[in-house]
Subunit: 358 residues, 3 copies
C-alpha cells in the first residue's frame, strides 16, 4: 500500500519530507526500520528521537507535523499512532492463512461437519459430530474431541487439545499446547480418600478470544466455564471450573483463577495473580501482578488493587513504605523507652531533692 | 436408575414428595436440574433455598426430611450428601470408555505389551518394551517412551508425554499435555558454564493418581520421584526431581515443588505455592495458597501454614492485621515522641520556676 | 571404563581400598550404589557417612584419601567431586541417540533441509524451507513450522512446537511440550476492545540452551527474543516478547519474564519469580524464589535480591525479622503510652502538692 492509501485507511493526514506515493511493505520498530517500512511515534516527546529512523513513513500524534520541522520520513498524523500502527500491521501482515485443505494424515470423523475453506493440518484429529466453521485453521497435531464446536475464521495452533463438547466462537486464537475442557479440580473426601466430584459441565470460549500457549481452561463441574468475547489470556494461565470471565478482559501470564470466580467486563489482571474460589472482580478493576485475592473477596468496579491479600493500590504503597521503615520505627521505640526511663528517673529523683523528708 | 435404586446404592432413606420409582438419568446443580436429574443439599441451612429446584430427586443431610415439610422432589437422606452425589455421578456418568482398539495410525513397537481391552488412539506412539495394562485408554497423540509401564484402567489424555522408563499404576488419569519423566533441573557449574548433573533416575506414579493438564513431574536425578496412591494434582503443577509425595495428597494449580522435597500423606497444598528443595511437609498439614516454604523447612504434621515464608495461620493472620495498622503505629510513635518532648520540657522548666538560681 | 581410565578422564588420583582396574558401568547415589557403580562425596565432612556405601568407586575431595583410612571402595581424589561426577555421568550415560532416520509417518516438506544423521520421529511435522542440522533428534509429534532453523546435535523432545521462523542453535535441548515463538501478549485498546499489536519479530535460542517441559518463549513483537548460549530454563517458565537473556543464566521453574526485560550473563533466577516489563537484571545477580521485580527496575550486577518488590537479601531478612516482631512492637507502644500517661499524671499532680496556689 502507498503512504496515501495507508493514511486514508487510518484516517490520517500526510505531511513531512517524503512522498505519499511511496510503497510501504512492512511494519518495523524505529530502530530497525528501513526503506519500505512504517513505524510510529507514540507521543510528541519521542518525536525528536525518531528523526534518526530510516523508516519510509511514520505515524505521529495529531498536531506534530508542523512542530516536527524537516523529516526524512513521510509522516501521517493520527489521533492514536500506536493503534493506527496496529491496524496498519493487520493490513500489511494478515495472519498467514492456508488454503482450504484436509491434510491426508488428518483423522476426521465421518460425522464431523467441516465448513468451506477450512484448513485441517497434518495429524489433526477431529472427533464424532464435531463442527469446524468456515475459514478456520486447525494446525498440526491438534485434537478436537467429540462434539466440539469451533466457529469461523479461528486459528487452533499445533498440539492444542479440545476435550469433548468444548465450544469455541469465531475469530478465536488458541496458541500451541492450550488445553480446553479438562476436568476441574473437585473431589469429595471420605475415609478412604478422594472421590471425583462430577466434572461434566460445559466450556464456552466466545468470539475473538485469544489464549496463550500452554494455558488451561477447565470445563464446568455441573454448570459452565465461560470466557467472554474479545478477552485475551497470556501463556500458562489457569482457569478453573465454572469461572466466568467477561468481555474485553486481559489476563497476563501464569495467573490462576480458582473455581466459580467471576471477572467482569474490561478488567485488567496482571501476571502470576492468584484468585481464590467464588471471588468477584467487578467491571474495569485492575489487579496488579502477583496479587492474591482471597476466596469470596469482591474487588470493586474500577478499583486498582495490589498485594497479598489485595488492598487498594494507594494503601498498598503506603503500607510498603511503612514496611521499609520498620527498622527505624524499632529504633524510635527503643529511643522512646530510653527517654521515658530517663524522665521517670528524673521525676522520681526530684522529690528526693525537693522533699528530703520523703 | 430409579430413586429407590440410588437410595440403596448410597445407603440412604427415601422421603419427600416424589416417587421412588422415577428414573434418574443425570446429575445437575440445583439451579439447572430438571426432570430426571438428581442434585444435592450439602447442609440443612440450604434446604429452604433448594425448594425451588426442579430436580426430580435431592440428596439431603440426615434428619432433614421431617424438617423439610412438603417438597416437590423426592428426597434421599444420607450422612454426607456431597459425597453421595459424587458416588451417584460416578454411577450415572461413568468415564467414557472406548472399546479395545489400536487405531491404525498408532505406532506401537513390536516389543510393546498391550493388554486386553486397551484403547490406543490416533497417532499415539508406544515405544520399545513398553507395557499398557488391561482396559487402559491412551488417547490421540500421546507419546509413551521406551520401557514405560502403565497399569490397568488408566486414562492418558491427548498429547501427554511419558519419557522412557516412566512407571504408572492403575486407574491413573493424566490430563492433556502432562509431561512425566523429563530431566530434573540440576547442573554443576565450572568456569565455562553448566554441566548437567545426571538425571537418570526413575519416576513412579502410583494407583489412582490424577494429574491436571500441562503439569510436569520430573524423573529422579539418581534416585526416584514418586507420587503416592490416590494423590490429586491440579493443572500446571511442577514436581521436581526426587520429590516424594505421599498418598491422598491434593495440590492445587500452579504449585511448584523443588527437588528432594517430601510431602507426607493427606497433606493439602493450595495453588501457586512454592516449596524449596529438601523441605518436608508432614502428614495432614495444610499449606495455604501462594505460600512459600524455604529449603529444608519442616512443616509439622497437621499444621496449617500460610505466607512467605510460611507461618502458622493464626500468626500469619495476626501479623497481617498488624501490618495493616502500620500507619497507625507510625502515628502513635509520633504522638509519643511529641508527648515525651512535652513532658521533658515541663520537667526541665519546673526547676527553673522552682529554682530561679538554676 | 576402568577406575584408572575414569581417574585419567577427570584428572584425579587413585587411592583407597579397591582395584584401579575394576570396571565402572554407571553412576549412582551413595545409598543405591552397588558393584560397578561410581558415586561421589562432595565435601570431606561427608566422608565418614560414605563409608557404608557399596559403590565400587567414589570421587572424593582433594586431600582426603590419606584422612580416609581404610575404605572398601576405590577412591579418586579430584578438586571438585560433584563436577567430576557430572562429567563421568556424561561419559558413562551419553544421551540416548537414535540413528539417522526419517520415520515413515513424519511429514517433511520437500523444501526442508535435513542434515546427515538426523533422526525425525513418528508424526513429526517439518515445514517449508525449515533446516535441521547434523545429528539433531526431533522426537515424536514435534511440529517445526515453516522457515524454522535448528542447529546440529540438538534434541527436540515429543510434542514441542516451534512456530514459523524460530531459530535454534546447536546442542540445544527442548523438553516435551515446549512452545517457542508464539505471539507475545501485546494489544492496543480502543473503544471496541483490543487490537493485536504486531507480533511479527524473531526468536533465537542460542547453542547449548536447555528449556524445561511446557515452558514458553514468545517471539519478538517487532524486534527479537533471545536466549543466550548455555542458559538453562526449568519447566513451565514464561519468557515474554523481546526479552533478552544472556549466557549461562539459570532460571528455575514457573518464573515469568515480561516483555523487553533484560537478564545479563551468569544471573541466577529462582522459581516463581515475576519480572515486570523493561526491567534489567545485571550480570551475576541472584534473584530469590518468588521475588517480584517491578517494571523498569534495575538489579545491580552481583546483587542478591529477594522479596516483593525485591530488596537486597540482608535488608529483606532484617525487614522480615522486624515483621515477625510486630506484635511485640505493638505491645511496646502500648506500654510506652501507659508510662507516658503515668508520667504526665505524676507531673501534673506534683505542682498541686508543691504549689498549692497552682
Amino acid at each position: 500500500m502507498t503512504v496515501a492509501e495507508l493514511a486514508a485507511f487510518v484516517g490520517g493526514q500526510v505531511g513531512g519530507g517524503g512522498d505519499a506515493q511511496v510503497l510501504i511493505e512492512r511494519v518495523a520498530s524505529l530502530e530497525s526500520a528501513g526503506a519500505g517500512a512504517i513505524s510510529f511515534v507514540e507521543e510528541e516527546r519521542f518525536l525528536e528521537g525518531a528523526r534518526a529512523s530510516r523508516a519510509s513513513c511514520l505515524l505521529v500524534p495529531e498536531g506534530t507535523i508542523n512542530a516536527a520541522g524537516e523529516f526524512a520520513a513521510t509522516l501521517i498524523e493520527v489521533a492514536h499512532p500506536k493503534l493506527a500502527f496496529a491496524l496498519v500491521a493487520e493490513a500489511l501482515h494478515p495472519q498467514a492463512r492456508r488454503a482450504g485443505e484436509i491434510h491426508p494424515t488428518a483423522i476426521v470423523a465421518e460425522s464431523a461437519r467441516i465448513g468451506a475453506e477450512v484448513f485441517i493440518g497434518a495429524n489433526v484429529v477431529v472427533g464424532e459430530r464435531a463442527g469446524v466453521g468456515r475459514g478456520t485453521q486447525v494446525l498440526a497435531g491438534a485434537v478436537l474431541g467429540d462434539d466440539v464446536e469451533v466457529g469461523s475464521d479461528s486459528v487452533i495452533h499445533p498440539n492444542v487439545v479440545l476435550y469433548a463438547g468444548a465450544r469455541l466462537g469465531s475469530r478465536v486464537i488458541l496458541h500451541a499446547g492450550v488445553v480446553i475442557g479438562a476436568d476441574g479440580f473437585g473431589y469429595v473426601r471420605d475415609k478412604d480418600g478422594y472421590h471425583k466430584f462430577p466434572q461434566v459441565g460445559a466450556v464456552v470460549i466466545e468470539d475473538e478470544v485469544e489464549i496463550g500457549a500452554n494455558s488451561c481452561v477447565d470445563r464446568g463441574a455441573l454448570g459452565e466455564t465461560r470466557i467472554g468475547r474479545g478477552t485475551k489470556l497470556d501463556n500458562l494461565v489457569q482457569v478453573g471450573h465454572n469461572v466466568q470471565i467477561g468481555e474485553r478482559v486481559v489476563i497476563a501470564a501464569q495467573t490462576g483463577i480458582s473455581g466459580s470466580t467471576i471477572i467482569e467486563h474490561d478488567a485488567v489482571i496482571g501476571g502470576q495473580v492468584g484468585m481464590g474460589d467464588h471471588a468477584r472482580v467487578r467491571a474495569g478493576a485492575i489487579v496488579g501482578s502477583k496479587a492474591g485475592i482471597l476466596p469470596g473477596k469482591i474487588v470493586r468496579a474500577g478499583a486498582v488493587v495490589w498485594g497479598v491479600p489485595v488492598r487498594p493500590l494507594d494503601e498498598y504503597k503506603r503500607l510498603n513504605a511503612h514496611f521499609g521503615r520498620l527498622p527505624q520505627m524499632r529504633e524510635e521505640i527503643e529511643e522512646l523507652k530510653r527517654q521515658v526511663r530517663e524522665l521517670s528517673a528524673r521525676l522520681t529523683e526530684k522529690p528526693d531533692t525537693e522533699d528530703p523528708q520523703g
